[in-house]
């Protein structure tokens, strides 16, 4: 009879060193999780509490260890939303990954695949943090060192929700040993896998990712995406930002921007910085920009592209007061759509501001009729910047735009003619030599 009284009580491997989670901490965790998709809030809340709990414990046991959380994944809300862990927490020279758990005595730990397989989230130590959010208590209850995980990795198979199930006994419950390692071990003792570049997406993968992200709603990623798609998402902060904005932003314009964004982050870009040195890159995409030099002498009646561009730029300068410096890269590209249209691109650097400027002109190829109804869209990684149509009532028979960006930013131009035919140009970037 009496064993029934105690049969739901489970002993832990060691008495936990409990630290309190105060109202300030809980409030902060709630605020951070509240902006996320509803299905992710509980996990995100626990992720933040795990960090607070770990920090308090470290402060209690080893205050001389420096804890850095500026680049941790909770601070990047987008990653906080998708990871079932708090990664990129730095203790001394080590990266640690915190795994919150509601069930302290559980004989199994669900390790998210991302924190094992993606170099961005790898850690020297995977630390299990028990959370009792009713008692407002937390404790560090186990740690798995990377070298130990490496020996287990070959036998790990992901479960349907992209977690690895690890026996709890692989986590060392002796927290004194964790502290010993954190304080005394040299980080070189635990080499981490090298960072890998993010693989480019094929057009098919891109289309499928677009479609799936548009239909994600509040469902978990593993139900909707393939693992490579999800890995791309987790590794690309821009995509995560996009996903974040779908919670509050205008769905229609966000959806339209997603296609541009995926191209911007996955397509090879044209480095217009090279144009200043009169070099054009060969791109595999089939678009070949023609460079034009600034004409030294403007010979009347000669209609070279350089002369046409110079007179267009003169007109623009007269109308808008936008001067183009002599030291600028100039090029043009002819497209077949709209009965034959020409895009001029002029780029220069504002080195004193760490910015660059891209000036674009879209009009007919000389001798062709003005392509009324022609549209263009210019986007960067955060938004659609310009959408404009060439209408008959305009004074100019061309479209003109000027955008400014930092050296890390790229721009994407998409041209659509009146019949709906569309061409997307390779992204523009300006890399300093």
């Amino acid at each position: 009879m009496t064993t029934q009284w105690t049969q739901d009580l489970q002993p832990l491997a060691a008495a936990p060193e409990i630290v309190p989670l105060g109202p300030t901490e809980r409030e902060q965790a709630a605020t951070i999780s509240q902006v996320l998709r509803p299905s992710r809030r509980t996990q995100a809340y626990l992720n933040v509490l795990a960090l607070f709990g770990f920090a308090a414990w470290l402060q209690q046991r080893a205050p001389e260890l420096a804890l850095q959380i500026e680049s941790c994944t909770n601070a990047q809300r987008l990653r906080a939303e998708l990871l079932d862990a708090t990664c990129n927490v730095q203790v001394g020279g080590f990266q640690v990954c915190l795994l919150p758990t509601l069930s302290w005595s559980d004989a199994e730990v669900a390790l998210p695949r991302a924190v094992v397989d993606l170099p961005e989230f790898n850690a020297h130590f995977y630390i299990l943090v028990g959370i009792d959010e009713d008692l407002h208590a937390a404790a560090v209850i186990g740690a798995l060192r990377r070298d130990r995980l490496t020996t287990l990795q070959a036998d790990l198979d992901p479960q349907i929700d992209w977690t690895y199930a690890l026996p709890r006994n692989q986590f060392n419950a002796n927290t004194d040993e964790l502290l010993l390692d954190l304080q005394c071990l040299e980080p070189v003792a635990l080499p981490l896998p090298a960072a890998e570049p993010i693989p480019d997406l094929s057009p098919q993968q891109r289309d499928s990712l677009t479609e799936h992200l548009l239909n994600l709603g509040d469902r978990p990623l593993w139900e909707v995406l393939t693992w490579p798609q999800s890995a791309t998402l987790l590794r690309q902060p821009r995509l995560l930002e996009w996903l974040q904005r779908t919670a509050t932003g205008d769905r229609q314009s966000l959806n339209r921007h997603l296609t541009d964004l995926l191209q911007l982050i996955s397509q090879p870009a044209v480095n217009v910085g090279l144009w200043l040195h009169e070099r054009a890159e060969e791109l595999t995409t089939g678009f070949q920009w023609q460079l034009v030099a600034e004409p030294a002498l403007r010979r009347v009646g000669t209609q070279t592209p350089g002369v046409t561009l110079a007179s267009l730029l003169n007109e623009i300068e007269r109308n808008t007061g936008t001067p183009v410096p002599a030291r600028a890269g100039r090029g043009y590209l002819d497209l077949e759509i709209g009965g034959g249209v020409r895009v001029y691109a002029v780029a220069w650097s504002l080195s004193y501001e760490d910015n660059w400027i891209l000036l674009l002109i879209l009009g007919a190829i000389p001798g062709h009729p003005t392509p009324h109804g022609l549209q263009w869209r210019i986007a960067d990684e955060t938004d659609t910047l310009i959408e404009e149509t060439l209408l008959p009532q305009r004074t100019n028979d061309y479209l003109f735009a000027q955008v400014i960006g930092s050296y890390a930013e790229k721009f994407l131009v998409t041209v659509t003619d009146a019949s709906g035919a569309t061409e997307t140009l390779p992204p523009f970037e300006f890399c300093l030599q």
Binding site: A13, A173, L185
Partner: protein, 456 residues
């Protein structure tokens, strides 16, 4: 007809178990309650008697009926705490008498929460089971009790906790091992997801906002929402949803037990991380180690002791915001220093220290000193200091095994006696325990505390 409520059972209704001001267990006979019970003409089970008492208490405001219930509950509390201590006390270092005062608390801890005993009496519903079971259930879910147990390494695992923490991957695997069909697995996944959405997530958010509530059974509204999300076209009846959830939890519980595999966790621990345990006769090695680095070692040890002790003293104060909490922390810090001095410099036993400081018993002192962690912190900080001072040792710090080996040597040098003292303190009888603290660590701690005193 025989009288089932015989004298040995029914005395539980008129003997009130209490904790006196000195924390001692008292059994108070209540003739008024006994006389009251004698009035009861009923003949049947405990449950019938309890039903009658509840009826008298609630509907006829019979204070003595309430008292009889309280007596019964207090007896049951004593038995349950005894049971807990018997089952877990030895391994988890606590006694029944430590637990009882929390349970038998007679004054409310705050305005919203009446004492546990009153809560049990007032929430008891004889239609849903007997008072023994209800008492145990409410005691186990009481926050003070849960905290007491969790601090000592015991977790209550309810069906709801199991479902809250279960992820879809694990559910899928468990169901596959049970040979569930694809449809059954899909249904179970939908049920779990709906449960997380409708029960777990709102509860966690309420608690984040400060509302306190243990994991209650899901409400009808929650069950309805779960039913509608699981099968929007034909939502199942509520009892069916509850049963399905409980069944799911049962499967998962069975898997947890399977995963434990009867293996003892302490064994697993040493499997995981082989601690470079010092050889039984490695005296010469540690002597050698000491001889080579004696001077640096002593400096490092002194620094480590000062840092660790000072830090422990300040950490008691951390996060204490009310004046009352600060005063309590101050007392704790003072007690800690006195206890540390008595233990290391005067070779006092923990029971003696408890008496000296007015603490309950040996386990309280043991927890206050927390020698295991104190020593680990000192050893670690010593190593960290050595790392900065002794280049010849650098190689040991670049491999986990090398580091553990070095740490084991330092530990050996520090304190064989402390190990024995900690082990002994746990089984230490209150009488006749003699020892002299002569280890390097004890001497250094003692030395530091003496200097600290004379500096003040």
């Amino acid at each position: 007809m025989s009288r089932v409520v015989n004298s040995s059972v029914s005395e539980r209704y008129w003997q009130r178990v209490r904790i006196d001001r000195l924390g001692r267990l008292q059994v108070e006979l209540r003739p008024d309650a006994q006389a009251y019970i004698a009035n009861w003409a009923g003949v049947a089970t405990d449950l019938d008697l309890q039903r009658w008492l509840v009826n008298q208490w609630h509907h006829s405001q019979q204070a003595l009926a309430g008292l009889c219930l309280e007596c019964f509950i207090s007896n049951q509390m004593r038995d349950f705490c005894g049971e807990l201590a018997q089952r877990f006390g030895k391994d988890h270092d606590f006694s029944r008498d430590e637990l009882l005062p929390l349970v038998l608390l007679e004054e409310a801890t705050n305005a919203e929460t009446p004492p546990l005993l009153q809560r049990i009496r007032d929430s008891f519903d004889p239609e849903r089971g007997n008072l023994s079971t209800w008492t145990v259930r409410v005691v186990k879910s009481d926050r003070l009790v849960r905290r007491f147990l969790l601090e000592r390494g015991i977790e209550q695992v309810t069906d709801w906790l199991i479902l809250n923490r279960t992820n879809p991957g694990r559910l899928e695997r468990v169901l596959r091992t049970l040979n569930a069909t694809a449809t059954e697995r899909q249904e179970a996944q939908r049920l779990l997801a709906a449960y997380h959405r409708c029960y777990r997530d709102p509860l966690v958010q309420q608690r984040a906002a400060g509302t306190r509530s243990r994991y209650p059974n899901p409400s009808d509204a929650q069950l309805l929402a779960i039913a509608q999300q699981t099968a929007p076209e034909r939502p199942p009846a509520l009892p069916q949803v509850l049963a399905a959830l409980q069944q799911l939890a049962q499967h998962l519980r069975a898997d947890r037990i399977r995963a434990r595999g009867g293996s003892v966790q302490t064994v697993q621990l040493s499997d995981t991380m082989p601690l470079a345990a010092p050889e039984p006769d490695n005296g010469s090695e540690s002597d050698h180690f000491l001889a080579a680095y004696r001077q640096q070692f002593d400096v490092c040890l002194d620094t480590a002791i000062a840092q660790t002790i000072e830090h422990r003293v300040t950490s008691f104060q951390q996060g204490k915001q009310t004046p009352k909490a600060r005063a309590k922390a101050q007392t704790k810090a003072e007690n800690f220093l006195v206890a540390l001095h008595a233990f290391h410099c005067q070779s006092a036993s923990m029971s003696d220290i408890a008496a000296q400081l007015g603490l309950r018993d040996q386990p309280s002192v043991s927890r206050l000193l927390d020698l295991k962690h104190l020593r680990a912190d000192i050893a670690r900080t010593t190593l960290s200091q050595l790392k900065q001072r002794v280049l010849a040792l650098a190689q040991a710090y670049v491999s986990p095994d090398g580091l553990r080996d070095l740490e084991a040597r330092v530990q050996t040098v520090l304190a064989e006696e402390v190990d024995a003292a900690i082990a002994n303190a746990q089984k230490e009888a209150s009488t006749g325990y003699n020892r002299a603290m002569t280890s390097c660590l004890a001497l250094a701690i003692c030395h530091y505390l003496d200097r600290r005193r004379s500096a003040q």
